[in-house]
Amino acid sequence: MAMNRRDFLKVSTSASGGLLLALNLPGCASVQTGYEPETGEWKPNAWLELTRDNDIIFTLDRVEMGQGTYTGLTTLIAEELDVAPEAIRVEFAPVAPEYRNPLFGLQLTGGSTSVASSWQPLREAGASARLMLVMAAARVWRVEPGQCKTEGGYVRHPNGLDSMPYGKLVELADKEVIRGDVPLKPRSQWKYIGRQAGRLDAEAKSTGQAMYGIDVELPDMVYAVMTRSPRYGGLAVSFNRDQVRAMPGVLDAFITERGVAVVADRYWRARKAQEALAVEWDFSEAVGLSNPDVFKHYRQAAGDDPGEDERVDGDPEAVLEKAGTLVEAEYEQPYLAHATMEPMNATAWYRDGGMEVWAPTQAPDLGRIAAARHTDLSPDDVTIHTTFLGGGFGRRLTQDYIEEAALVAYRVKVPVKLIWSREEDTRHGFFRPAMLHRMAASLEDGQLTGWDHQIVGPQILDWYVRNAAPAQYPWAPKLLYGTLGRVGLMVEGIATPKDISAIEGAIGYPYAVPNVRVRHTHTDPGVPITWWRSVGYSHNGFAVETFMDELASQANEDPVSFRLKLLESEPRHRRVLERAAELAGWNQPVPEGRARGVALFKSFGTYVAQVVEASIEQGGIRVHKVTCSVDCGQVVNPRIVEDQMTGGIVFGLTAALNGEITLDGGEVQQSNFHDYRLLHMHQVPEMVVDIVDSEEPPTGVGEPGVPPVIPALGNALFALTGKRQRRLPLKA
């Protein structure tokens, strides 16, 4: 296959979200466009299909996991096509090159990029289809296209009387050729973008009709459960096969690369057979880590290796050395699980030399690689059908659950659905990495003059490359997958974009301090990790914004004005901070027994400031109110922006108050919602969300609500008790 090196290693321009492999994947079939006379279907481009019968179908290529693409992206195309979003039927995209996220070169939903990356292409797709329909109508009527109008799925004649539905025009429109650029509607003419609109998937999700991965049903389907090594990296050696196979309904039980699979005619029978399993494991390669070791390991590494400089302004070392007041602090953050409400699952069917997979996945083209991994198939033999996702938060970027379903299906040759229990989901996840942050800063007469931030911990690419590197070379034999992963890591930052998952949010330190150093001591204790809603921002936000608060208090300054003074040339930062403070009544007295804390953090291009009001009651932390101001550029759906902020706040508070995965001898100690606790309704504070009106290009909202609330709460607790908390989760 002729393809030059530059094509492969196209460096992405945006580093948003820490997802960084920009790859070109050859070998996928492209979407067929054009008019199909038999069926009367016209596909003007990869996203739209209009039929003779006036159906309009939009192929959604960014998965819907709650963040609102189903509504938001449909709104973009509807606006330019000039039909109501509700008039469009949405279908989930198959795998095809047209549907790749241009920011990553992969068909992947993550990094809060969907609206930003689809903003231009989808509006253009809608506009060009509309223009072709108008041109066709104008030709029939012998009028100028520019004189025709469109409305509600009709093209209107300039005489104001005649009109033709889009469906009547699809065949003719296919012959029209657009020369030059397609004009997009000016902002003043928008009917749907920025308007308060509901969610197009709300009814399906309120009636039990929305289909998630776990709901897939196929003829003669069987069920599988997988028993994985309790410690990461352990291998199954043997098990009581005869006993398990004799259990009611059990069809098969066997050792796989992922553990011991039990297949039964019913899910519950598979689970009961699993209970009877006695597996002998080989732990010689397994991780045997216990929780205190993790931070011991990090401290050791931090001392041995000052880390690679990721940003240096001025001469921070010299300034810190002769600091008037040197302030130092260390922050610790634990491993965190995603705990999507829908546990991991996938359904696979191997027949006629091909594999079909139905799965709630954030990265269907990586799902193909995962499905092929332990079979003789190539990724091209795999078809992925994406369903609604019962939550994603980054967990479903890693395709291990598809790998499992596929390897079972390959053996049993009937449709098989593999479901993880909640306990398995909690224990065998890929986690938000535990991180250590060492901070130092110098104050001279209350002025912040130097800043040194040492980040200690792993980077996600080290783990993700196993999934993604083979995508670069789909024709490569699977034997080479491991090698490809290692090569992928070696060229990281040279031939491929740098992984910023550990340092994002730290390198973008926005405050006007003349001497800044941000460095990363790269060390990995071996616990599986992946992206987790807001990724590196989730831990850097806590470190940076807690330390800023410590410095404000050292300088005897109000935390808001301390920050504002350092943001002279950061107007968008300033604005959200000022608005959040104003709305929260920052300068007004706090109700008796409570205190306020503030934090400001930009992530994924979006600026968010939050003020938290909290107290300690009956020995527990109580969060009363969170005030949030967000600037995400042009807003497509204000309601969804608000929901992503409040949802992000709840997600962040859950981490701040409860979130912690701990290890004992390599085994995860948490298992279900009693010990990996989510926020309950009675713990949810009043939340006020203020959205800055902006004409800047849209940026993401799925993740940026998470980072600031964690330090803002910690800072409120400091204001309340005078005691600084430097480790998460926070304690009363």
Binding site: G66, Q67, G68, Q196, G198, R199, D201, A202, E203, A204, K205, S206, T207, G208, M211, Y212, I214, D215, E217, P248, R266, Y267, W268, K272, A339, T340, M341, E342, P343, F388, G390, G391, G392, F393, S421, R422, P638, R639, I640, V641, E642, D643, T646, G647, G648, I649, V650, F651, N672, F673, H674, L678, L679, H680, M681, H682, V684, M687, D690, I691
Partner: protein
Amino acid sequence: MAFTLTVNGRQHSLDVEPDTPLLWVLRDELGLKGTKFGCGAGLCGACTVHLNGQPARSCSTPVEMAEGAEITTIEGLSADGELHPLQKAWVEQGVPQCGYCQSGQIMTAAHLLANNPSPDREQIVTAMTGNLCRCGTYPRIVAAVESVAGGVGQYQPAGEDA
């Protein structure tokens, strides 16, 4: 073992082990996929159905315990083909995000309103707090229940005309 179950007003005969959780019987034997599996341990409420009008966690209800009971699932919440007022409110308020927990949320709310047509906010929170939502849709859930209960939500979505 053979069982007769009455689900959404219809009788079904089936043959399953008596300890099979009702959840899997509803989903896999009867094809009612609206009831969801979240934790399997009575901790999240995603699997909530009504047993004789009382909310029950179907993941922790052996099918043998459900025999003879009137079972209602999200699919049968509204008998007349119209949406239940709560479902309408859910759509109007745009409550669901990923949506996975919402069948359970609605079933719990429906039980609350059946027994207390105008609960105040505290009563709503007390009734609903056992139903987890990882997406954090809680404020919209409260607003939706209040809108049906005739209460006036203080909760104002941004950008909405006051």
